[in-house]
Amino acid sequence: MGEPQALQDRGGFCKIADRVGRLGNRAAAFRVIGDRMIEVSGLTKRYGDVVAVSDLSFRVVAGEILGFLGPNGAGKTTTMRIIAGFIAPTAGTAAVLGHDVGREPLAARQALGYLPEGAPSWPEMTPRSFLAFIADVRGLKGEQRRRRLADTVDRLGLGPVLDQTIDTLSKGFKRRVGLAQAIVHDPPVLVLDEPTDGLDPNQKHEVRTLISEMAPGKTIVISTHILEEVDAVCTRAIIVAHGRLLVDERPAVLQARSRYHNAVTLTVAEPADLPHIAAALRAAPGVGDVEVDLRDGRLTALPAPGQLPLAAVSELASREHWNLHELRLEAGRLDEVFRSVTSAAEQAP
Protein backbone atom coordinates (compact mmCIF):
# COMPACT_ATOMS: atom_id res chain seq x y z
CA MET A 1 0.00 0.00 0.00
CA GLY A 2 2.92 2.32 0.78
CA GLU A 3 4.42 2.00 -2.66
CA PRO A 4 1.79 3.88 -4.67
CA GLN A 5 1.93 6.66 -2.07
CA ALA A 6 5.69 6.94 -2.50
CA LEU A 7 5.28 7.01 -6.27
CA GLN A 8 2.74 9.74 -5.99
CA ASP A 9 5.10 11.77 -3.85
CA ARG A 10 7.82 11.30 -6.36
CA GLY A 11 5.40 12.45 -8.98
CA GLY A 12 4.86 15.66 -7.02
CA PHE A 13 8.55 16.15 -6.56
CA CYS A 14 9.17 15.60 -10.23
CA LYS A 15 6.62 18.27 -11.05
CA ILE A 16 8.47 20.76 -8.82
CA ALA A 17 11.81 19.73 -10.22
CA ASP A 18 10.34 20.12 -13.68
CA ARG A 19 9.18 23.64 -12.88
CA VAL A 20 12.55 24.60 -11.43
CA GLY A 21 14.15 23.10 -14.49
CA ARG A 22 11.90 25.15 -16.75
CA LEU A 23 12.81 28.36 -14.92
CA GLY A 24 16.42 27.37 -15.38
CA ASN A 25 15.77 26.82 -19.06
CA ARG A 26 14.26 30.26 -19.35
CA ALA A 27 17.36 31.79 -17.80
CA ALA A 28 19.38 29.75 -20.25
CA ALA A 29 17.25 31.07 -23.09
CA PHE A 30 18.12 34.63 -22.11
CA ARG A 31 21.76 33.70 -22.03
CA VAL A 32 21.40 32.22 -25.50
CA ILE A 33 20.23 35.56 -26.82
CA GLY A 34 22.86 37.39 -24.81
CA ASP A 35 25.98 35.67 -25.92
CA ARG A 36 25.26 32.88 -28.35
CA MET A 37 24.83 34.72 -31.58
CA ILE A 38 25.45 31.58 -33.58
CA GLU A 39 25.27 28.13 -32.11
CA VAL A 40 26.04 25.05 -34.14
CA SER A 41 25.81 21.66 -32.50
CA GLY A 42 26.41 18.20 -33.82
CA LEU A 43 26.00 19.44 -37.38
CA THR A 44 26.28 16.71 -40.00
CA LYS A 45 25.59 16.85 -43.72
CA ARG A 46 25.83 13.84 -45.98
CA TYR A 47 25.41 13.74 -49.75
CA GLY A 48 24.84 10.04 -50.38
CA ASP A 49 28.04 8.43 -49.15
CA VAL A 50 29.99 11.67 -49.10
CA VAL A 51 30.20 13.33 -45.71
CA ALA A 52 30.53 17.09 -46.21
CA VAL A 53 30.23 18.08 -42.55
CA SER A 54 30.70 15.69 -39.68
CA ASP A 55 29.46 16.32 -36.14
CA LEU A 56 30.57 19.95 -36.14
CA SER A 57 29.90 22.05 -33.03
CA PHE A 58 30.92 25.61 -32.25
CA ARG A 59 29.50 28.77 -30.80
CA VAL A 60 30.09 32.40 -31.70
CA VAL A 61 29.44 34.98 -29.00
CA ALA A 62 28.57 38.65 -29.42
CA GLY A 63 31.35 40.82 -30.84
CA GLU A 64 33.51 37.97 -32.08
CA ILE A 65 34.91 37.84 -35.60
CA LEU A 66 35.38 34.20 -36.35
CA GLY A 67 37.66 33.09 -39.16
CA PHE A 68 36.39 29.84 -40.61
CA LEU A 69 39.38 28.17 -42.21
CA GLY A 70 39.92 25.03 -44.15
CA PRO A 71 41.16 23.70 -47.47
CA ASN A 72 38.74 23.72 -50.42
CA GLY A 73 36.10 21.04 -49.94
CA ALA A 74 36.48 21.03 -46.15
CA GLY A 75 32.80 21.78 -45.58
CA LYS A 76 33.03 25.52 -44.98
CA THR A 77 30.46 26.53 -47.57
CA THR A 78 28.13 23.70 -46.57
CA THR A 79 28.24 24.83 -42.93
CA MET A 80 27.55 28.44 -43.88
CA ARG A 81 24.70 27.43 -46.15
CA ILE A 82 23.12 25.52 -43.29
CA ILE A 83 23.45 28.52 -40.96
CA ALA A 84 21.90 30.73 -43.65
CA GLY A 85 19.05 28.25 -44.08
CA PHE A 86 19.81 27.43 -47.70
CA ILE A 87 20.27 23.71 -47.09
CA ALA A 88 19.02 21.50 -44.29
CA PRO A 89 21.46 19.46 -42.21
CA THR A 90 21.27 15.66 -42.16
CA ALA A 91 21.62 15.80 -38.37
CA GLY A 92 22.32 18.37 -35.70
CA THR A 93 21.11 21.94 -35.34
CA ALA A 94 22.15 25.49 -36.09
CA ALA A 95 20.66 28.58 -34.47
CA VAL A 96 21.05 32.31 -35.03
CA LEU A 97 20.25 34.47 -32.00
CA GLY A 98 18.56 31.45 -30.45
CA HIS A 99 16.30 30.89 -33.48
CA ASP A 100 16.71 27.40 -34.86
CA VAL A 101 17.26 27.71 -38.63
CA GLY A 102 14.97 24.74 -39.30
CA ARG A 103 12.09 25.54 -36.94
CA GLU A 104 12.08 29.35 -37.11
CA PRO A 105 13.67 29.96 -40.51
CA LEU A 106 12.27 33.45 -41.07
CA ALA A 107 13.31 34.80 -37.65
CA ALA A 108 16.78 33.30 -38.04
CA ARG A 109 17.19 34.77 -41.53
CA GLN A 110 15.94 38.18 -40.46
CA ALA A 111 18.71 38.34 -37.82
CA LEU A 112 21.34 37.36 -40.34
CA GLY A 113 23.17 39.09 -43.16
CA TYR A 114 24.55 36.53 -45.58
CA LEU A 115 27.02 36.87 -48.43
CA PRO A 116 26.93 33.65 -50.48
CA GLU A 117 30.11 32.41 -52.12
CA GLY A 118 30.93 34.48 -55.22
CA ALA A 119 28.49 37.25 -54.19
CA PRO A 120 25.70 36.32 -56.62
CA SER A 121 23.17 38.95 -57.67
CA TRP A 122 21.03 39.74 -60.69
CA PRO A 123 23.28 41.15 -63.41
CA GLU A 124 20.57 43.16 -65.16
CA MET A 125 19.79 45.17 -62.00
CA THR A 126 21.56 48.31 -60.82
CA PRO A 127 22.96 48.52 -57.28
CA ARG A 128 20.16 51.00 -56.54
CA SER A 129 17.32 48.71 -57.61
CA PHE A 130 19.04 45.66 -56.13
CA LEU A 131 19.46 47.18 -52.67
CA ALA A 132 15.93 48.61 -52.80
CA PHE A 133 14.65 45.12 -53.57
CA ILE A 134 16.53 43.63 -50.59
CA ALA A 135 15.21 46.39 -48.32
CA ASP A 136 11.65 45.67 -49.47
CA VAL A 137 11.91 41.93 -48.99
CA ARG A 138 13.36 42.52 -45.54
CA GLY A 139 10.39 44.70 -44.70
CA LEU A 140 12.14 48.06 -44.26
CA LYS A 141 9.77 51.00 -44.64
CA GLY A 142 9.61 54.77 -44.83
CA GLU A 143 12.28 56.85 -43.14
CA GLN A 144 14.12 53.81 -41.77
CA ARG A 145 14.35 52.30 -45.25
CA ARG A 146 15.72 55.52 -46.70
CA ARG A 147 18.23 55.91 -43.89
CA ARG A 148 19.46 52.31 -44.07
CA LEU A 149 19.86 52.46 -47.85
CA ALA A 150 21.75 55.75 -47.69
CA ASP A 151 23.98 54.48 -44.89
CA THR A 152 24.73 51.24 -46.74
CA VAL A 153 25.57 52.98 -50.01
CA ASP A 154 27.75 55.44 -48.15
CA ARG A 155 29.56 52.83 -46.09
CA LEU A 156 30.46 50.71 -49.10
CA GLY A 157 31.23 53.64 -51.39
CA LEU A 158 28.66 52.59 -54.00
CA GLY A 159 27.62 56.16 -54.83
CA PRO A 160 29.45 56.45 -58.19
CA VAL A 161 28.05 53.18 -59.58
CA LEU A 162 24.50 53.25 -58.22
CA ASP A 163 22.86 53.43 -61.64
CA GLN A 164 25.18 51.17 -63.61
CA THR A 165 23.94 47.64 -64.21
CA ILE A 166 25.71 45.15 -61.97
CA ASP A 167 27.15 43.11 -64.86
CA THR A 168 29.17 46.13 -65.98
CA LEU A 169 30.82 46.58 -62.56
CA SER A 170 34.34 45.44 -61.68
CA LYS A 171 34.76 42.38 -59.50
CA GLY A 172 35.63 44.56 -56.51
CA PHE A 173 32.44 46.60 -56.86
CA LYS A 174 30.36 43.47 -57.41
CA ARG A 175 31.71 42.16 -54.12
CA ARG A 176 30.88 45.44 -52.41
CA VAL A 177 27.32 45.22 -53.74
CA GLY A 178 27.15 41.73 -52.23
CA LEU A 179 28.37 43.03 -48.88
CA ALA A 180 25.93 45.94 -49.08
CA GLN A 181 23.08 43.50 -49.62
CA ALA A 182 24.11 41.68 -46.44
CA ILE A 183 24.05 44.75 -44.20
CA VAL A 184 21.05 46.67 -45.58
CA HIS A 185 18.86 45.61 -42.63
CA ASP A 186 21.65 46.21 -40.08
CA PRO A 187 21.71 42.60 -38.87
CA PRO A 188 23.46 41.70 -35.60
CA VAL A 189 25.08 38.65 -37.23
CA LEU A 190 26.98 38.51 -40.52
CA VAL A 191 28.01 35.35 -42.32
CA LEU A 192 30.39 36.00 -45.21
CA ASP A 193 31.46 33.12 -47.42
CA GLU A 194 34.88 33.85 -48.94
CA PRO A 195 34.36 37.62 -49.17
CA THR A 196 37.76 38.27 -50.75
CA ASP A 197 38.06 35.23 -53.00
CA GLY A 198 39.07 36.06 -56.57
CA LEU A 199 39.89 39.71 -55.90
CA ASP A 200 43.22 41.40 -56.62
CA PRO A 201 45.40 42.39 -53.64
CA ASN A 202 44.13 45.98 -53.56
CA GLN A 203 40.51 44.89 -53.68
CA LYS A 204 41.23 42.29 -51.00
CA HIS A 205 42.65 44.97 -48.79
CA GLU A 206 39.63 47.20 -49.43
CA VAL A 207 37.11 44.50 -48.59
CA ARG A 208 39.07 43.55 -45.47
CA THR A 209 39.06 47.17 -44.34
CA LEU A 210 35.32 47.40 -44.99
CA ILE A 211 34.73 44.29 -42.89
CA SER A 212 36.85 45.66 -40.05
CA GLU A 213 34.84 48.88 -40.18
CA MET A 214 31.57 46.98 -40.02
CA ALA A 215 32.76 44.87 -37.12
CA PRO A 216 31.90 47.06 -34.10
CA GLY A 217 28.63 45.87 -32.61
CA LYS A 218 28.37 42.90 -34.94
CA THR A 219 29.17 39.25 -34.78
CA ILE A 220 30.85 38.06 -37.95
CA VAL A 221 31.79 34.70 -39.39
CA ILE A 222 34.15 34.79 -42.38
CA SER A 223 35.18 31.73 -44.30
CA THR A 224 38.45 31.92 -46.10
CA HIS A 225 41.53 30.02 -47.03
CA ILE A 226 43.66 33.14 -46.91
CA LEU A 227 45.55 33.20 -43.65
CA GLU A 228 46.63 36.83 -43.59
CA GLU A 229 42.92 37.56 -43.42
CA VAL A 230 42.65 35.80 -40.09
CA ASP A 231 45.58 37.74 -38.76
CA ALA A 232 44.16 41.00 -40.10
CA VAL A 233 40.54 40.83 -38.97
CA CYS A 234 39.65 37.82 -36.82
CA THR A 235 39.46 37.46 -33.07
CA ARG A 236 39.17 33.71 -33.26
CA ALA A 237 39.89 31.00 -35.79
CA ILE A 238 38.42 27.61 -36.51
CA ILE A 239 40.11 25.13 -38.84
CA VAL A 240 38.05 22.39 -40.44
CA ALA A 241 39.06 19.61 -42.80
CA HIS A 242 36.92 16.76 -44.11
CA GLY A 243 33.99 18.37 -42.34
CA ARG A 244 35.60 17.92 -38.93
CA LEU A 245 36.65 20.59 -36.49
CA LEU A 246 40.43 20.44 -35.94
CA VAL A 247 41.32 23.67 -34.18
CA ASP A 248 39.35 26.39 -32.36
CA GLU A 249 41.70 29.08 -31.07
CA ARG A 250 42.62 32.74 -31.01
CA PRO A 251 44.92 33.61 -33.96
CA ALA A 252 47.84 34.37 -31.58
CA VAL A 253 47.46 30.99 -29.90
CA LEU A 254 47.24 29.40 -33.31
CA GLN A 255 50.46 31.10 -34.32
CA ALA A 256 52.10 29.78 -31.16
CA ARG A 257 51.46 26.27 -32.42
CA SER A 258 53.79 26.96 -35.30
CA ARG A 259 57.25 25.47 -35.07
CA TYR A 260 58.43 28.91 -36.12
CA HIS A 261 56.97 30.44 -32.97
CA ASN A 262 59.88 32.15 -31.13
CA ALA A 263 62.29 31.15 -33.90
CA VAL A 264 65.00 33.63 -34.86
CA THR A 265 65.58 34.51 -38.49
CA LEU A 266 68.90 36.00 -39.69
CA THR A 267 69.67 37.31 -43.15
CA VAL A 268 73.37 37.05 -43.91
CA ALA A 269 75.13 39.74 -45.96
CA GLU A 270 77.83 37.46 -47.37
CA PRO A 271 76.59 34.09 -48.72
CA ALA A 272 80.06 32.69 -48.05
CA ASP A 273 79.41 33.05 -44.32
CA LEU A 274 76.34 30.81 -44.40
CA PRO A 275 77.98 27.45 -43.54
CA HIS A 276 79.91 28.54 -40.48
CA ILE A 277 77.11 30.73 -39.10
CA ALA A 278 74.71 27.79 -39.52
CA ALA A 279 77.13 25.54 -37.64
CA ALA A 280 77.53 28.08 -34.84
CA LEU A 281 73.76 28.47 -34.55
CA ARG A 282 73.26 24.73 -34.27
CA ALA A 283 75.58 24.69 -31.30
CA ALA A 284 73.93 27.70 -29.61
CA PRO A 285 71.88 27.04 -26.46
CA GLY A 286 68.11 26.82 -26.92
CA VAL A 287 68.33 26.16 -30.66
CA GLY A 288 66.73 22.92 -31.83
CA ASP A 289 67.31 22.99 -35.56
CA VAL A 290 68.50 25.40 -38.23
CA GLU A 291 66.88 25.88 -41.63
CA VAL A 292 69.05 27.34 -44.38
CA ASP A 293 67.62 29.19 -47.35
CA LEU A 294 70.54 29.48 -49.78
CA ARG A 295 68.72 31.65 -52.27
CA ASP A 296 67.97 34.51 -49.88
CA GLY A 297 70.94 33.93 -47.58
CA ARG A 298 68.49 33.39 -44.74
CA LEU A 299 68.91 31.21 -41.68
CA THR A 300 66.13 30.30 -39.28
CA ALA A 301 67.05 28.98 -35.85
CA LEU A 302 64.09 26.96 -34.59
CA PRO A 303 63.69 26.81 -30.83
CA ALA A 304 64.28 23.59 -28.93
CA PRO A 305 61.01 22.61 -27.17
CA GLY A 306 60.11 25.25 -24.58
CA GLN A 307 63.19 27.40 -25.25
CA LEU A 308 63.60 31.07 -26.28
CA PRO A 309 66.80 31.21 -28.35
CA LEU A 310 66.62 34.93 -29.19
CA ALA A 311 68.92 36.22 -26.44
CA ALA A 312 71.55 33.54 -27.03
CA VAL A 313 71.49 34.04 -30.81
CA SER A 314 71.77 37.84 -30.72
CA GLU A 315 74.60 37.67 -28.18
CA LEU A 316 76.41 35.16 -30.37
CA ALA A 317 75.94 37.37 -33.42
CA SER A 318 77.44 40.45 -31.76
CA ARG A 319 80.29 38.48 -30.16
CA GLU A 320 81.27 36.87 -33.46
CA HIS A 321 80.74 40.11 -35.45
CA TRP A 322 78.53 38.40 -38.01
CA ASN A 323 77.75 40.60 -40.96
CA LEU A 324 73.92 40.54 -40.95
CA HIS A 325 71.19 42.45 -42.78
CA GLU A 326 68.51 41.37 -40.40
CA LEU A 327 67.87 39.53 -37.18
CA ARG A 328 64.28 39.08 -36.08
CA LEU A 329 61.98 37.07 -33.84
CA GLU A 330 59.22 35.09 -35.53
CA ALA A 331 55.69 35.11 -34.08
CA GLY A 332 54.86 31.92 -35.93
CA ARG A 333 53.60 31.22 -39.40
CA LEU A 334 49.86 30.63 -39.76
CA ASP A 335 50.21 29.01 -43.16
CA GLU A 336 52.55 26.46 -41.69
CA VAL A 337 50.11 25.69 -38.83
CA PHE A 338 47.29 25.44 -41.34
CA ARG A 339 49.27 23.02 -43.51
CA SER A 340 50.45 20.85 -40.67
CA VAL A 341 46.99 20.67 -39.08
CA THR A 342 45.09 19.95 -42.29
CA SER A 343 47.62 17.55 -43.77
CA ALA A 344 47.66 15.56 -40.53
CA ALA A 345 43.90 15.24 -40.99
CA GLU A 346 44.52 14.16 -44.59
CA GLN A 347 46.67 11.26 -43.46
CA ALA A 348 44.23 10.10 -40.77
CA PRO A 349 40.74 10.94 -42.05
Partner: protein
Protein backbone atom coordinates in the same frame (compact mmCIF):
# COMPACT_ATOMS: atom_id res chain seq x y z
CA UNK B 1 3.42 39.97 -48.17
CA UNK B 2 6.52 42.18 -48.35
CA UNK B 3 8.37 39.33 -49.97
CA UNK B 4 5.63 38.47 -52.46
CA UNK B 5 5.32 42.02 -53.72
CA UNK B 6 9.03 42.77 -53.83
CA UNK B 7 9.90 39.56 -55.68
CA UNK B 8 6.95 40.01 -58.05
CA UNK B 9 8.04 43.53 -58.95
CA UNK B 10 11.68 42.55 -59.34
CA UNK B 11 10.80 39.64 -61.63
CA UNK B 12 8.43 41.65 -63.76
CA UNK B 13 11.01 44.41 -64.18
CA UNK B 14 13.65 41.84 -65.11
CA UNK B 15 11.54 40.63 -68.06
CA UNK B 16 11.58 44.11 -69.52
CA UNK B 17 15.27 44.66 -68.70
CA UNK B 18 16.26 42.17 -71.42
CA UNK B 19 15.25 41.94 -75.09
CA UNK B 20 13.36 38.73 -74.25
CA UNK B 21 10.18 40.63 -73.42
CA UNK B 22 10.05 42.53 -76.68
CA UNK B 23 11.01 39.55 -78.81
CA UNK B 24 8.35 37.49 -77.11
CA UNK B 25 5.62 40.08 -77.46
CA UNK B 26 6.38 40.84 -81.12
CA UNK B 27 6.51 37.16 -82.09
CA UNK B 28 3.36 36.40 -80.13
CA UNK B 29 1.43 39.20 -81.81
CA UNK B 30 2.73 38.42 -85.30
CA UNK B 31 1.94 34.72 -85.02
CA UNK B 32 -1.44 35.27 -83.39
CA UNK B 33 -2.40 37.68 -86.14
CA UNK B 34 -1.03 35.62 -89.02
CA UNK B 35 -2.61 32.39 -87.82
CA UNK B 36 -5.99 34.01 -87.21
CA UNK B 37 -6.25 35.70 -90.57
CA UNK B 38 -4.57 33.18 -92.88
CA UNK B 39 -4.91 29.68 -91.43
CA UNK B 40 -7.99 30.52 -89.36
CA UNK B 41 -9.89 32.01 -92.27
CA UNK B 42 -11.13 34.90 -90.14
CA UNK B 43 -12.78 36.74 -93.06
CA UNK B 44 -13.83 33.71 -95.11
CA UNK B 45 -15.91 32.31 -92.25
CA UNK B 46 -18.05 35.43 -92.32
CA UNK B 47 -18.82 35.09 -88.60
CA UNK B 48 -18.39 37.85 -86.06
CA UNK B 49 -16.54 35.89 -83.37
CA UNK B 50 -12.95 35.20 -82.30
CA UNK B 51 -13.03 31.41 -82.55
CA UNK B 52 -10.24 31.34 -85.18
CA UNK B 53 -8.17 33.62 -82.97
CA UNK B 54 -8.49 31.55 -79.78
CA UNK B 55 -8.21 28.19 -81.50
CA UNK B 56 -4.51 28.77 -82.19
CA UNK B 57 -3.61 29.89 -78.68
CA UNK B 58 -2.87 26.40 -77.32
CA UNK B 59 -0.34 25.86 -80.11
CA UNK B 60 1.22 29.29 -79.71
CA UNK B 61 1.56 28.80 -75.99
CA UNK B 62 3.04 25.36 -76.46
CA UNK B 63 6.27 26.99 -77.66
CA UNK B 64 6.14 30.50 -76.31
CA UNK B 65 5.19 29.88 -72.67
CA UNK B 66 8.01 27.37 -72.09
CA UNK B 67 10.35 30.09 -73.41
CA UNK B 68 9.12 32.37 -70.62
CA UNK B 69 9.08 29.62 -68.01
CA UNK B 70 12.51 28.15 -68.71
CA UNK B 71 14.39 30.98 -67.06
CA UNK B 72 12.21 31.15 -63.93
CA UNK B 73 14.44 28.94 -61.80
CA UNK B 74 17.07 27.37 -64.06
CA UNK B 75 18.76 30.73 -64.54
CA UNK B 76 18.78 31.45 -60.80
CA UNK B 77 20.41 28.11 -60.18
CA UNK B 78 23.00 28.57 -62.88
CA UNK B 79 24.02 32.02 -61.70
CA UNK B 80 23.83 31.16 -58.00
CA UNK B 81 21.35 33.94 -57.21
CA UNK B 82 18.97 31.25 -55.99
CA UNK B 83 21.12 31.08 -52.86
CA UNK B 84 20.57 34.77 -52.27
CA UNK B 85 16.84 34.63 -53.00
CA UNK B 86 16.10 31.61 -50.83
CA UNK B 87 18.10 32.83 -47.83
CA UNK B 88 16.05 36.02 -47.65
CA UNK B 89 13.31 35.90 -45.01
CA UNK B 90 10.72 34.58 -47.46
CA UNK B 91 9.07 31.16 -47.61
CA UNK B 92 9.97 29.20 -50.76
CA UNK B 93 6.25 28.93 -51.63
CA UNK B 94 5.98 32.72 -51.65
CA UNK B 95 8.98 33.04 -53.96
CA UNK B 96 7.48 30.42 -56.30
CA UNK B 97 4.12 32.21 -56.36
CA UNK B 98 5.71 35.64 -56.90
CA UNK B 99 7.78 34.43 -59.85
CA UNK B 100 4.79 32.65 -61.34
CA UNK B 101 2.56 35.71 -61.02
CA UNK B 102 5.22 37.91 -62.63
CA UNK B 103 5.49 35.49 -65.56
CA UNK B 104 1.72 35.34 -65.88
CA UNK B 105 1.44 39.13 -65.79
CA UNK B 106 3.99 39.32 -68.57
CA UNK B 107 2.05 36.86 -70.73
CA UNK B 108 -1.11 38.77 -69.82
CA UNK B 109 0.44 41.96 -71.20
CA UNK B 110 1.22 40.17 -74.48
CA UNK B 111 -2.31 38.79 -74.59
CA UNK B 112 -3.86 42.20 -73.86
CA UNK B 113 -1.92 43.68 -76.76
CA UNK B 114 -4.03 41.54 -79.13
CA UNK B 115 -6.90 43.97 -78.49
CA UNK B 116 -6.94 45.21 -82.13
CA UNK B 117 -8.41 41.84 -83.09
CA UNK B 118 -11.25 42.51 -80.69
CA UNK B 119 -11.75 45.99 -82.11
CA UNK B 120 -11.69 44.59 -85.66
CA UNK B 121 -14.39 42.04 -84.99
CA UNK B 122 -16.56 44.67 -83.29
CA UNK B 123 -16.07 46.98 -86.26
CA UNK B 124 -17.02 44.27 -88.75
CA UNK B 125 -20.04 42.90 -86.95
CA UNK B 126 -21.65 42.53 -83.57
CA UNK B 127 -19.99 39.64 -81.77
CA UNK B 128 -20.92 38.17 -78.38
CA UNK B 129 -18.47 40.16 -76.28
CA UNK B 130 -19.20 38.05 -73.21
CA UNK B 131 -17.94 35.01 -75.08
CA UNK B 132 -14.83 36.91 -76.09
CA UNK B 133 -14.07 37.90 -72.48
CA UNK B 134 -14.53 34.25 -71.52
CA UNK B 135 -12.10 33.34 -74.27
CA UNK B 136 -9.48 35.72 -72.94
CA UNK B 137 -9.94 34.44 -69.38
CA UNK B 138 -9.62 30.85 -70.57
CA UNK B 139 -6.60 31.70 -72.68
CA UNK B 140 -4.80 33.33 -69.74
CA UNK B 141 -5.64 30.42 -67.44
CA UNK B 142 -4.30 27.95 -69.96
CA UNK B 143 -1.11 29.99 -70.28
CA UNK B 144 -0.93 29.85 -66.47
CA UNK B 145 -1.18 26.08 -66.60
CA UNK B 146 1.70 25.87 -69.07
CA UNK B 147 3.69 28.36 -67.02
CA UNK B 148 3.22 26.36 -63.82
CA UNK B 149 4.42 23.19 -65.57
CA UNK B 150 7.41 25.12 -66.87
CA UNK B 151 8.14 26.56 -63.43
CA UNK B 152 8.37 23.07 -61.94
CA UNK B 153 10.60 21.69 -64.69
CA UNK B 154 12.76 24.82 -64.63
CA UNK B 155 13.31 24.26 -60.91
CA UNK B 156 14.53 20.75 -61.62
CA UNK B 157 17.48 21.75 -63.81
CA UNK B 158 20.08 24.44 -64.20
CA UNK B 159 19.92 24.25 -67.99
CA UNK B 160 17.36 26.49 -69.62
CA UNK B 161 17.45 24.41 -72.80
CA UNK B 162 16.56 21.21 -70.95
CA UNK B 163 13.84 23.06 -69.06
CA UNK B 164 12.41 24.34 -72.35
CA UNK B 165 12.37 20.96 -74.09
CA UNK B 166 10.92 19.09 -71.11
CA UNK B 167 8.22 21.73 -70.69
CA UNK B 168 7.23 21.56 -74.36
CA UNK B 169 6.96 17.76 -74.19
CA UNK B 170 4.96 17.69 -70.95
CA UNK B 171 2.69 20.51 -72.13
CA UNK B 172 2.14 18.73 -75.45
CA UNK B 173 1.09 15.57 -73.64
CA UNK B 174 -1.22 17.53 -71.31
CA UNK B 175 -2.68 19.41 -74.24
CA UNK B 176 -3.57 16.23 -76.08
CA UNK B 177 -4.41 14.03 -73.10
CA UNK B 178 -7.98 13.67 -74.37
CA UNK B 179 -6.95 12.67 -77.88
CA UNK B 180 -6.02 9.30 -79.44
CA UNK B 181 -2.32 10.14 -79.58
CA UNK B 182 -2.10 9.98 -75.80
CA UNK B 183 -5.14 7.83 -74.99
CA UNK B 184 -4.02 4.98 -77.26
CA UNK B 185 -1.07 4.42 -74.97
CA UNK B 186 -3.49 3.63 -72.14
CA UNK B 187 -6.24 1.97 -74.16
CA UNK B 188 -6.26 -1.80 -74.00
CA UNK B 189 -4.66 -2.23 -70.58
CA UNK B 190 -5.82 0.61 -68.37
CA UNK B 191 -9.20 0.36 -66.63
CA UNK B 192 -11.91 2.68 -67.92
CA UNK B 193 -11.82 5.05 -64.90
CA UNK B 194 -8.09 5.68 -65.43
CA UNK B 195 -8.70 6.26 -69.11
CA UNK B 196 -11.38 8.80 -68.22
CA UNK B 197 -9.10 10.41 -65.68
CA UNK B 198 -6.33 10.83 -68.25
CA UNK B 199 -8.79 12.15 -70.82
CA UNK B 200 -10.12 14.69 -68.32
CA UNK B 201 -6.62 16.12 -67.89
CA UNK B 202 -6.64 17.50 -71.40
CA UNK B 203 -5.93 21.21 -71.57
CA UNK B 204 -7.46 21.37 -75.03
CA UNK B 205 -10.84 19.95 -74.03
CA UNK B 206 -11.17 22.36 -71.11
CA UNK B 207 -9.94 25.32 -73.11
CA UNK B 208 -12.27 24.66 -76.05
CA UNK B 209 -15.23 24.66 -73.70
CA UNK B 210 -14.24 28.04 -72.26
CA UNK B 211 -13.30 29.61 -75.59
CA UNK B 212 -16.78 28.86 -76.94
CA UNK B 213 -17.99 31.23 -74.26
CA UNK B 214 -19.10 28.59 -71.76
CA UNK B 215 -17.51 29.59 -68.45
CA UNK B 216 -18.10 26.34 -66.61
CA UNK B 217 -16.87 26.35 -63.03
CA UNK B 218 -15.35 22.91 -63.54
CA UNK B 219 -13.13 24.12 -66.37
CA UNK B 220 -11.99 27.13 -64.37
CA UNK B 221 -11.30 24.94 -61.34
CA UNK B 222 -9.42 22.52 -63.53
CA UNK B 223 -6.93 25.17 -64.64
CA UNK B 224 -6.63 26.72 -61.18
CA UNK B 225 -5.99 23.33 -59.61
CA UNK B 226 -3.49 22.41 -62.30
CA UNK B 227 -1.62 25.62 -61.57
CA UNK B 228 -1.77 24.97 -57.80
CA UNK B 229 -0.50 21.40 -58.11
CA UNK B 230 2.43 22.29 -60.38
CA UNK B 231 3.42 25.26 -58.24
CA UNK B 232 3.33 23.09 -55.13
CA UNK B 233 5.50 20.59 -56.99
CA UNK B 234 7.88 23.46 -57.83
CA UNK B 235 8.26 24.21 -54.13
CA UNK B 236 8.98 20.56 -53.37
CA UNK B 237 11.52 20.28 -56.18
CA UNK B 238 13.25 23.43 -54.93
CA UNK B 239 13.43 22.13 -51.39
CA UNK B 240 14.98 18.92 -52.62
CA UNK B 241 17.35 20.17 -55.25
CA UNK B 242 18.08 23.85 -54.75
CA UNK B 243 21.67 23.39 -53.66
CA UNK B 244 22.71 20.84 -56.33
Amino acid sequence: MNGLRAIYQRELASYFATPLAYVFIVIFLLLAGALTFSLGGFYERGQADLAPFFSFHPWLYLFLVPAVAMRLWAEERRSGSIELLLTLPVRPGVAVAAKFLAGLTFIGVALALTFPVWITVNYLGSPDNGAIVAGYVGSLLMAGGFLAVGSCLSAATRSQVIAFILTVVVCFLLLLAGFPLVLDVFRGWAPAPLLDAVASLSFLTHFQAISKGVLDLRDLLYFIMTIGVWLYATTLVLELRKAD
